[in-house]
Amino acid sequence: MKLQRKNRLRALSLGALAVSGALALTACGSDDTSGSGDGGKETTANANIKCDDAKGQLAASGSSAQKNAIDAWRKVYTTNCKDVQLNYNPTGSGAGITAFLQGQTAFAGSDSALKPEEIEKSKKVCSNSQAIGLPLVGGPIAVGYNVPGVDELTLDAKTLADIFNDKIKTWDDKAIAKLNPDAKLPKTKIQAFHRSDESGTTDNFTKYLKGAAPAAWPYEPGKSWEPKGGQSANGSAGVASQVKQTAGAISYFELSYAGEGIKTVDLKTQAKEPVKATVDNASKAIAEAKVVGKGKDLSLELNYKPTAEGAYPITLVTYEIVCEKGNKAETLPATKSFLTYIASEDGQNVLKENDYAPIPAEIISKVRSTVAGLS
């Protein structure tokens, strides 16, 4: 008996040690990442950001296309409004909308406008009002490639469609050579990568192919990749890193994922000169978009055959989805204050620095007035 008691004592003291150790651990952590690595870049306080009584955990999820934009905004916003813990989970648009409709999140990010049945469903979580989509992030979808020795590459919609449909198999194909008379094209096989997960990026890219080269692209545009075969990877970061690693690779992703390591294709459009994938050129195309949403919903219809000189045709607009009325009381102040900031001029300017395109002035002013009226 004595022996056992001793053991139990020992076990008890071990347990106590573990618990106190855990407690000690909880005391020494910190969320403040400034002062190491790139975290040291101090973000300045911005008097234009109004926190009001925004506080608490602000959970949101959705499109991974706008992840880098939200990251940049979050940095500025939370240095100014220290009481808000913004937490954006890049789960993908579908999961984001599902979580929002289930009342899990304060807002969702989506690459595509709300569908009628989603608006119908939203009446439950928005208590007698409905969900609306606010276009807040625009951006070019770049076509990145990795062909050693080729620094500039021009393609048109038909060639792109043939490449991704496995009709053009090598880089020295005539169709590519015709568009690039000056380039030294190698014999390398083309490795076309697509997204293995469903995504709004795929949706917009295939819409462009279908819209601009309907004969060469027989598939229905959609969030999942229709053609059989081809190589794939998960997420924009995934395909981008495959392009970086694989010689002869080509794929599509938001410009912000191209970074410095990946060259992007210039697109031949109706205009005279091939168009580079830049933020400004994307803005020109987005300016031609039409608002098709009803009421306060600001869903856009993009034009994949822009006529303006220098407009880059493959673009993507990401919407933040909130309730028009009947947002959850505890997160409403934070949601409103954050959306007000990102719709403001300061907020939209942050986009340009991060390879995203601001929303054209006419549309963004509508967004601002809608955000002001959220309740």
Binding site: Q4, N7, A22, L25, T26, C28, G29, S30, D31, D32, T33, S34, S36, G37, D38, G39, G40, K41, Q57, A59, S61, K67, N68, D71, A72, R74, K75, T78, T79, Q85, N87, N89, Q102, G103, Q104, N234, G235, A237, G238, A240, S241, Y257, G259
Partner: protein
Amino acid sequence: MSTTTPTPPGPLVERPATLKAATLPRWSPLAVALGSAAVAVGIGLGAGLHSRIQWGLIAALLFIAGSYALAVAVEGTRQARDRLATSLVWVMFLLAVVPLASLIYETVQRGIKVFDVYFLTHSMGVLSDEETGGGIYHALIGTLQQVLLASVIAVPIGLLTAIYLVEYGRGKLSKVITFFVDVMTGIPSIVAGLFVLSFWILILGFGYSGWAGAMALAILMMPVIVRSTEEMLKLVPNELREASLALGVPKWRTILKVVLPTAIGGITTGVMLSVARIAGETAPVLLLVWVNPLINTNPFEGSQASLPLYVYQQYAAGTDASYDRAWAAALALIGFIMILNLAARGIARWKAPKTGR
């Protein structure tokens, strides 16, 4: 060797000089190994094969063929077959050690880069994927709390079920339970995650939380604990139970005071091993705990992070800085699990049941 057997020289020339068959010297396998490695490197360089894997495979083939041929020539086929088996076993061993060693080496070498006190004591804060810095503190807290909560649910249920099966159960019920425990060990972890997701979050309407993740982990943990505890309880000699019962001690006290203490070492090991297993689970956590780059010390409200999830996300982010963080977090995770394992083994040795093993 031939010198040790004094065979007088004489007219019997045809008799072998020794009763022992000719053998290769002891250093011959090593020599063959070195030789084949050298030839393989030569071939690799000569033919311009870039992949080291091919070099290794060529060396392995040469080694097996070389030692077999040599043995056939000198020792005869039976011995040669023995040599062949020996060299095959050695090659298999090396073949397996290389990837496993590479796994450990790469994780340590790439992980150590950003692995420091700062990394352990800071969360990701508001860093974006491309920026260096940040840490795993939030994930560490999340994993510790989720694993602890899962153990709090699973250990009592698992222990009591095992006690029921070994000490009481004999009817249909125990057979059914045994069968379903087996079934439960086969649940893919993502299915457990889906189950909790639809019950707790979608039907009952609770939010994402560390607790939700802990429940899924508990489901994965229970059958492992039941199984290992069952085995340990069976090892307890019946004489102990009989002696205690004969003294008039009630059965429940016998179980608590005699049976359990005897088996406690093995039971603890089983529990620790199951903890180590669930600490590395990614799939259910991905669905239930969500992510949170910031510290959340309350597992019952709001999303949390966890170490395996952190590794997965940093890998998915795909930037150089995030790869560094992923490796460092993988190192931390392996370290955490190794410590648990070593502790479990230590306890097992310290308190091993004294059966005639």
